[in-house]
């Protein structure tokens, strides 16, 4: 399967985009609507004119028509041919390439079996559910054994449970077939679940290209940080294991208890919404409770974000408007924070040294 290189691609919002996708890799293009994700897919597929160069294994494809690029493209709307039944939809590319009838039958049968839709072979798309349509579209895209698979928000029309199930199957399938795959989504959780690496695209340019954990814990720019939800990211100075699966890390003097198993923890992260804030001291004893001073209050959409200085560290918290209005929180006032233990994400040290405390 090819190693893909995009060089200085210019098209619509995409300006001078360069990107490399490794052989057999599943790269997720992550970004807001209108960021240029689908445009990039269309460029790779040859469905749009563009400036720059698309290179597969060192061979430029810029003058190669879409029909000759050997790409499997799963469109956001799936675009199954309504006048063809499931088997004919899947067989479409094979017929277009004038493959022998017997071979087409075998290939279609094996794909129907692999995707567990053999019983649907003679149904028309209008009689399929969302998940079934998605499988058929995937089968159609895979039928001619493409070198590259492009998936444009393929789960966007499915309910959460079906999408989760299909994502797992898709990931497994991609691993087995080893097809170089580009998966477009605007959903961070989906991206983290699927990706070998994530390319965060913002306003037509690649802001960061890294493995999922690295994107989350080391966002390269404010745009990336904002996109992933602007989590509080804290460096850990040292850690000690309290019991099996529970450790205490020290972040700039703050002792924070974290659920974690594995290597040493280098960073922890927590979304602002996962830090409980109050103007009065919560009753009872508990873990991860801190007292600090409010240093900033910002109104963001339907919520309020507060910066709270706790020792050397600044933590950002978030709470709904109506709750904020009921509290006496303002700049300079004292605030009590509780960090939700189960919501704290950890980034393991990739090096060998463990900073045990």
């Amino acid at each position: 399967m090819p190693h893909i290189e995009l060089k200085n691609i210019c098209k619509h919002i995409c300006r001078d985009v360069s990107l490399e996708i490794n052989d057999s890799e599943l790269l997720v293009l992550l970004g807001h609507s209108g960021a240029g994700k689908t445009t990039l897919l269309n460029v790779i597929a040859g469905l749009a004119d563009y400036e720059g160069s698309v290179i597969f294994d060192g061979v430029p494809l810029d003058k190669v028509a879409a029909s000759k690029r050997k790409i499997g493209y799963l469109f956001q709307e799936l675009v199954l041919f309504p006048h063809l039944d499931v088997a004919s939809n899947i067989a479409y590319s094979l017929k277009a390439q004038k493959v022998h009838k017997e071979k087409i039958r075998h290939r279609v049968d094996s794909l129907l079996k692999m995707l567990k839709i053999t019983h649907l072979s003679s149904r028309y798309p209008k009689k399929l559910s969302g998940g079934e349509k998605q499988r058929v579209a995937l089968g159609r895209a895979l039928a001619c054994a493409p070198k590259v698979l492009l998936l444009d928000e393929p789960m966007s029309s499915l309910d959460g449970q079906t999408a989760k199930h299909l994502r797992a199957e898709l990931k497994q399938l991609q691993g087995e077939l080893g097809i170089t795959t580009i998966y477009v989504t605007h959903d961070l959780a989906e991206a983290e679940e699927m990706a070998d690496r994530i390319a965060v695209i913002h306003n037509g340019s690649i802001e960061q290209l890294a493995p999922p954990d690295e994107v989350f814990f080391y966002p390269k720019s404010e745009a990336v940080s904002d996109f992933i939800g602007a989590p509080n990211i804290l460096d850990c100075d040292c850690y000690r294991e309290l019991e099996q699966g529970v450790i205490e890390v020290s972040c700039g003097g703050l002792p924070i208890i974290v659920a974690h198993e594995g290597n040493a923890v280098q960073r922890i992260a927590l979304f602002p919404r996962d830090i409980y804030i109050s103007d009065t001291c919560p009753p009872g004893a508990g873990v991860n409770r801190f007292k600090g001073t409010v240093t900033d209050v910002r109104y963001v959409d339907d919520s309020v974000r507060l910066d709270v200085q706790v020792g050397e560290k600044k933590l950002v918290t978030e709470l709904p408007h109506h709750i904020f209005d009921e509290m006496e929180l303002a700049v300079g006032k004292e605030a009590y924070l509780i960090l939700k233990l189960r919501r704290i994400r950890t980034y393991e040290c990739k090096c060998n040294h463990n900073k045990r405390g």
Partner: protein, 253 residues
């Protein structure tokens, strides 16, 4: 209750039966001024029988049918071909659309005086009229059908390795079929209406000509026979294409 469902199509005939009975009664009771101007239904049936037995109706009917079939088939094929080219190729659309837009509103019968001078009064005249009557609407519907096909289907077929010709044949034309069938269905009925008018005005044979002769001899029963034949043929042609459309597209629409 299945037998009730089976009976349902029969209920559609009931208003027609009631109308025929009323017609017979009104004519027999001479509620209209005389049976001469408003013959009873039974007289019309009797005349239909005579005209059929002596071959007059058959000869004229088949003359009209032949003209309609030749003109309609040729016009439709030409309409689909030109419409396909115009729908698929932008340059053809840009070049031909203004001309089509200018000619399409002219009623088919509006061409009759010109064609009488150009072609003369012979078999080609009604066939040409039917050709024109069928060509423009079928062309218009074909162009609309093709241009309305979602571009995503074309893009999808392209990424699946299909050539332009294959995309046209296997994706675009099948998806444009509902529109094309609409054109064919409407024009199949219209062709009969136009041929009758053309035969009444300019051609000495056919159902229209028979009607004209009946008018001259004040044979109202024959006129009504001709009108019934016309109604049945219009309906049959339209129903045939509706059936064909259903057969071809219903399973996926």
């Amino acid at each position: 209750m299945k037998w009730l469902k089976k009976l349902r199509p029969g209920w559609g005939l009931l208003p027609i039966v009631i109308m025929l009975v009323l017609w017979e009664v009104i004519a027999r009771l001479e509620l209209f001024p005389g049976q001469f101007f408003f013959p009873p239904f039974s007289t019309v049936v009797q005349e239909f029988y005579y005209l059929t037995v002596n071959g007059v109706l058959g000869d004229n009917f088949f003359s009209s049918l032949g003209r309609v079939l030749i003109g309609f088939i040729a016009g439709s094929i030409a309409g689909i071909l030109v419409g396909t080219i115009m729908g698929w190729k932008d340059i053809a659309h840009k070049a031909l659309n203004p001309i089509i837009n200018m000619l399409y509103p002219i009623p088919a019968l509006g061409w009759l005086p010109l064609l009488m001078l150009w072609i003369g009064i012979n078999e080609l005249l009604p066939i040409t009229i039917i050709f024109i009557c069928s060509f423009f609407p079928v062309l218009y519907n074909t162009v609309t059908g093709i241009r309305n096909v979602d571009k995503d289907y074309i893009q999808a077929a392209r990424t699946l390795g299909a050539s332009d010709a294959r995309i046209l044949a296997t994706v675009v034309m099948p998806l444009a079929l509902p529109n094309i069938f609409t054109g064919l269905r409407l024009e199949a009925g219209m062709a009969w209406r136009v041929i009758i008018a053309a035969e009444m005005v300019a051609i000495p044979t056919g159902i229209g000509a028979l009607m004209m002769k009946a008018t001259n001899t004040m044979r109202i029963d024959i006129i009504i026979v001709c009108l019934i034949v016309l109604a049945v043929m219009c309906l049959s042609f339209e129903r045939f294409f509706a059936y064909l459309e259903e057969k071809v597209t219903a399973k996926w629409r």
